[in-house]
């Protein structure tokens, strides 16, 4: 079944507001999560990551929160700008028997920013 998924397929926010994009995961053994942004016609672009020994990590205008108790993570974007309009994917690192681990993406939330 789906291991990583998003709560809402679309999110519309006003420019300047904060955005919160949510993601749930099912595997309690998952220990590394990553957020990607995909603009129309482009490949995914890394935003921020978090490991399970942390519950919060901040980047430039973005914050990721991890709640291991309820297996939930969120991406917060401060002062959302039109350039933030994209599809946002959460991903987990999964191992297929090797040591490297590879990304399992969720379904994506489309963020639209209204001017």
């Amino acid at each position: 079944g789906e291991s990583v998924g998003l709560h809402l397929p679309t999110l519309s926010v006003q420019e300047g507001d904060n955005s919160i994009i949510n993601c749930a995961y099912s595997n309690s053994a998952s220990d590394y999560f990553i957020w990607y942004k995909q603009e129309s016609g482009k490949g995914p672009q890394f935003i921020i990551d978090i490991r399970s020994n942390m519950d919060k990590r901040q980047g430039q205008r973005v914050t990721v929160l991890l709640n291991k108790t309820v297996k939930h993570l969120s991406l917060q974007i401060a002062a959302t700008q039109p350039g933030d309009s994209a599809v946002y994917f959460c991903a987990e690192n999964r191992y297929y028997g090797g040591s490297q681990g590879n990304l399992i993406f969720g379904k994506g939330t489309k963020l639209s920013v209204k001017p």
Binding site: G97, G98, L103, F105, G106
Partner: protein, 114 residues
């Protein structure tokens, strides 16, 4: 800024034909990947490659698929006999090290199988 480049940007092929998608990863990266995205759906892992061999592959990556690093710069994905359901955007990615979630993706090659 260094980037991953992919060719072709779009390829149309007949069912049963062989297709080769090409990628030039970022030059100092050591790990290479192929992912695919069926239109409107999530990005799916296919295969990872390190030190001239496959390090991991998903259940999607069956005997129809193969990867190769024919020289010091290119990384290719071959689909031996394409099926309609192979129609998708194929993304190449590379990363510096092991165990990082920071992959650098190319802009993708759209494959349409008729």
């Amino acid at each position: 800024e260094p980037e991953v480049t992919q060719t072709p940007s779009h390829q149309v092929t007949q069912m049963g034909q062989e297709v080769i998608l090409r990628c030039v990863p970022i030059s100092n990266h050591l790990y290479f990947y192929w992912y695919r995205q069926i239109l409107g759906q999530k990005v799916e892992f296919l295969v990872s490659f390190y030190n001239n061999e496959i390090s991991e592959k998903s259940e999607i990556f069956d005997d129809q698929f193969s990867v190769e690093r024919p020289d010091g710069s290119n990384f290719t994905l071959k689909i031996r006999s394409t099926k309609l359901e192979d129609s998708a955007m194929y993304f190449c990615a590379s990363s510096e090290g092991q165990g990082t979630g920071e992959l650098f993706f190319g802009e993708g090659s759209r494959l349409t199988v008729l």
